[in-house]
């Protein structure tokens, strides 16, 4: 079977991200998965066990400051060289900021089509995409070149399939043009032990109804009891209740968890755009006419400051 390249998404703190495991699972349906690690020195070694566990038969690595010290361009150059050499049957990247950016450059370098926000990929290269805030399902195909797709997190259930990949170090020959955008500093912001928002199985979000930044503790408490991530509506972010990187919606993150809990969120289109493909939706809002209830599988009309602490207490009792 032919090779399918999976460009690895990982973080220093948590290692291989779940979307990478999803891509490896998807790649196994299409051919033989090879993982591609583009990062700092020693990155591939640290990730190899996990990548093998999910079926990576081989790991290509390009590492060091030449790769990691600049914004995406060197990564795209290395990847383009690899694609030309191994002629894979598909290239998969994560549908997140960096994955899309690398894919964008790769598409231009290879004069190859690109499909983003893919939630499924058939063996014949037909991709399924969700468009217009989840309201339209699109089947599409790359018609020039190989299937170059970015895969949206939480699209596939990762399943392990043991392999023992060897690491092949790639020769890094990036050009001066690739080094125009220099990363001078990386600052980690406090995140705690919660799962990453786009990858979480459970997301608990707060909106304007939460009232102030301090009250977001209630949202966080419920998220922690459910092992979930915390999100916020644009109204809550604009009011300064919660940081922007947790915004769910049209101009924020798109999430598709198993369970989405909306607290004090009216459900404006802006917000629905980012969460309406969630599997189960639960809402608490004092306004019984709020549009969020049109989506909710279970809704409670009432005061969230009474309902949420009671729910938290009930979960503790059951644990």
């Amino acid at each position: 079977m032919s090779e399918v390249l999976v460009v690895v998404e990982a973080t220093k703190e948590f290692g291989v991200k779940k979307v990478t495991l999803e891509m490896l699972t998807l790649a196994r349906e299409l051919g033989t998965p090879s993982a591609v690690v583009l990062g700092g020195a020693g990155a591939a070694e640290a990730l190899s066990a996990k990548l093998g566990e999910y079926g990576a038969e081989k790991i290509y690595a390009a590492e060091g400051d030449e790769i990691d010290g600049y914004l995406v361009a060197p990564k795209a150059t290395v990847l383009a060289e690899l694609v030309k050499r191994v002629q894979p049957s598909a290239v998969l990247l994560a549908s997140a900021q960096e994955g899309k950016e690398i894919a964008a450059r790769l598409a231009v370098k290879l004069d190859n089509g690109i499909l983003t926000d893919v939630v499924g990929l058939a063996a014949d290269g037909t991709a399924t995409q969700v468009a217009f805030a989840g309201s339209t399902i699109v089947k599409s195909k790359v018609t020039k070149g190989l299937p170059l797709v970015t895969v949206r997190p939480n699209s596939v259930t990762p399943s392990p399939a043991a392999a023992s990949p060897a690491i092949e170090q790639l020769t890094v020959s990036v050009t001066d043009t690739d080094k125009l955008a220099k990363v001078v500093e990386r600052v980690a912001e406090q995140k705690g032990s919660r799962p990453e928002l786009t990858e979480a199985g459970v997301v608990v979000s707060g909106g304007r109804g939460v009232g102030n930044a301090d009250n977001f503790k209630l949202v966080e408490e419920l998220a922690d009891l459910l092992g979930g991530a915390v999100g916020a509506s644009r109204a809550a972010v604009d009011s300064g209740f919660y940081p922007h990187q947790f915004q769910v919606g049209q101009t924020g993150k798109t999430v598709s968890p198993q369970l989405y809990v909306a607290l004090g969120i009216s459900g404006a289109i802006q917000h629905r755009a980012g969460m309406q493909t969630s599997k189960t939706i639960v809402a608490v809002n004092k306004d019984g006419e709020a549009p969020i209830f049109e989506l909710a599988d279970f809704g409670v009309v009432g005061d969230l400051f009474k309902i949420v602490p009671q729910a938290a207490e009930e979960i503790r009792k059951r644990k």
Partner: protein, 259 residues
Amino acid sequence: MNIVVLVKQVPDSGADRNLRNDDNTVDRGSANNVINEMDEYAIEEALKIKEAHGGEVTILTMGPDRATESIRKALSMGPDKAVHVLDDALHGSCAVATSKVLAAALGQLNADLVICGAESTDGRVQVMPHMIAERLGVAALTGARKLTVDGATLTVERQTEEGYEVVTASTPAVVSVWDTINEPRYPSFKGIMAAKKKPVQTFSLADLGVAPTEVGFDGATSAVVEHTKRPPRSGGAKITDEGEGGVKLVEFLATEKFV
């Protein structure tokens, strides 16, 4: 500084949006078409840089005739002039071909700085800034929540999932911005009146030296095979809290095995 802002006209994300049944492209005919929201932040950032450092701000739009409305709206915020890439052959163009056309137009505008929104609300593909930078061989500083200009040196703060990165480059460069970067101004009455007289130059594909076969459906590198409207979600049980709302909520979560 010579600044070009990329502006895209999109169907209003606050209303029902559709793909056309005949050719699977975005239905712009029956939609309320507006400036892509993120682009307003790009315009604002360009105007702030001009106010602080001098220079000129040009709007660049590729789109059909009716995109003129969005160009005038953009100009009413304060930019000096606009360029409209308008050609019937462009209908059906993919992202790769679009980047080719925009890069060709930018090649004629000698921009020191290209600013655009990080993504459009219709496609949300997020690839255009890097595609254009790749073609022009210039730096791309993308996803900026803060931009500082010091002479020819640009520094941005870029939000990542772990925190943020500080990235720097020299002009010429492409910068894309999120809506956290500023608060776009509203056009003043004076601005709206002035916009009517500002120059809007039209470029055809021939003006840009791009062949019609390189764009549109003929030149597309990807194709939509089919699309279907997803059935709208229907609401489930809705109860009114009478003192036991929290417990009932957890009971529901338990039946769904979340607790």
